[in-house]
Symmetry: none
Subunit: 248 residues, 2 copies
DNA sequence: CTCGTTTATGCATGTTCTTGCATGTTGCTG
DNA sequence: CAGCAACATGCAAGAACATGCATAAACGAG
């Protein structure tokens, strides 16, 4: 294994779990603790981590809202993301909207695929910055800080010209009876457009999203093609709607 | 086997596996390690790979460019940013384009001002995410990973409808005689539009930018209104052009 | 065909990089 | 405070690397 690969792997583990233990890394990679410490020193020098006694943590989040949400349940989201990433095929065009889970998905997208990703979330674009194989189209417009996404008529107008194979939707609520819902009217509008412009609808939902309902309806639950969830319990109802359920 | 065939084969293996080991290649092709190293050097020169100790990886601007650029000279950029931030007045509309210094500036903008910020750089938008007082408009379009910004006709079209009080330009070169220059044609185009649409032009430049010239000319040096630099030396020439020079 | 030139390659040399180990220091915990 | 784990530092071995040079093949012009 190349040194650079090891550094990359450590960075991935960091962003997934928020922390790494020096001992574990040494065992895992089959190198000495010293080497791992050197790696962590290097990563810290480049600002990718913060060294602590016993290992390293992600750098102290400077941005309050978004970064916190991102690190919350990082482990679960990373696993959801890996499963979701397997649903993507080479050459596809994807809509990916704003959500912390979707940032994890963007990070998990296979590096060897050539994808076209359309997003109204600047965070998704920056998450994909490390992969020059992808074409990334940012939908501009008024940026809503709390959502981490561009909303509004300008954004919608741009989306209306682009069709995609799949929409990876960051949902606020998914319920078999009441459908897919969003918390915010502005968010809802652009999401509806993205749904209309996409062949497949994929949602990766943490358990707290399932069975909950937000004010603004996006579409019927049956419109969902892939639903990636944490556990198998209670998913029969979704399967009966002809949704492909993937539990991690 | 011809040299070109070998190079092609290495490129295929690279794009397939994401990495190659110098030793393996030497064995596989029945040539010496030296020859393989020469091949990898050539491929790296052409941008097809990134050489690392032991072999080569697919190019990943991530490690090299954006993140490192951001952490590189971080303290200098932070001080430049603080000074630049004092030039901004409440209620103003700003263009801020992509550059690591500009991300520092975005972070340094006074939290108590109400600003309208227009940017083609997703990173700038996320940097401003923690301040709900600002209105942020993202210029969309094709996202250029290595630049961290949206470029191209769509982006330019959107910019053409928006006028600003000030443009905070992330310059590649500033020279009294040869003017302000950019490294890339696409970058240059959108920057020219932003210059034309803004009343004031502000540049925060690390010392290595001063007196250097990049291929694509943006405007005359005299067009600059505020120039924020590290040191006072040699700035008289800029002052004579009626530029307000602020040294930190 | 012959000669000079270019190109690709391997080898020898010295340099740099990575890694593990030994040593001593620091930080945590009971 | 004592003991231990984690840590920093210096060092040495080996791998990978750059460079210069020699050889041989390929090439083009006369």
């Amino acid at each position: 294994m190349l040194t650079e690969e090891r550094l990359d792997a450590i960075r991935r583990m960091l962003s997934e779990h928020g922390k790494v233990l020096a001992n574990d890394l040494a065992t895992q990679f089959g190198v000495s603790d010293d080497t791992i410490r050197r790696d962590l020193r290097e990563l810290a020098r480049l600002g990718y981590c913060r060294r602590v006694y016993g290992g390293a943590l992600l750098p102290s989040p400077d941005t309050g809202t978004l970064a916190v949400r991102t690190s919350d349940q990082a482990d679960v989201k990373a696993r959801l993301a890996r499963t979701t990433a397997t649903l993507v095929r080479d050459g596809q065009t994807l809509y990916i909207d704003a959500s912390s889970t979707n940032i994890a998905i963007a990070n998990a997208l296979p590096k060897d695929l050539r994808l076209t990703v359309i997003t109204n979330a600047p965070g998704i674009a920056t998450a994909l910055s490390d992969n020059p194989r992808h074409a990334i189209i940012v939908l501009g417009g008024l940026y809503e800080q709390s959502k981490g996404a561009c909303l509004g008529p300008q954004t919608i107008r741009e989306a209306e010209n682009i069709f995609a194979d799949m929409f990876v939707l960051g949902a606020c609520g998914v319920d078999t009876a009441l459908g897919v819902t969003a918390l915010d009217a502005g968010e809802a509008e652009i999401k509806r457009v993205m749904i209309a412009q996409s062949s497949l609808l994929t949602i990766a939902a943490t358990t707290d999203k399932l069975g909950t309902v937000a004010p603004f309806k996006l579409t019927e639950a049956a419109r969902i093609d892939h639903l990636v969830v944490e556990a198998e319990e209670g998913m029969e109802a979704y399967r009966q709607l002809d949704i492909e359920v993937h539990s991690i």
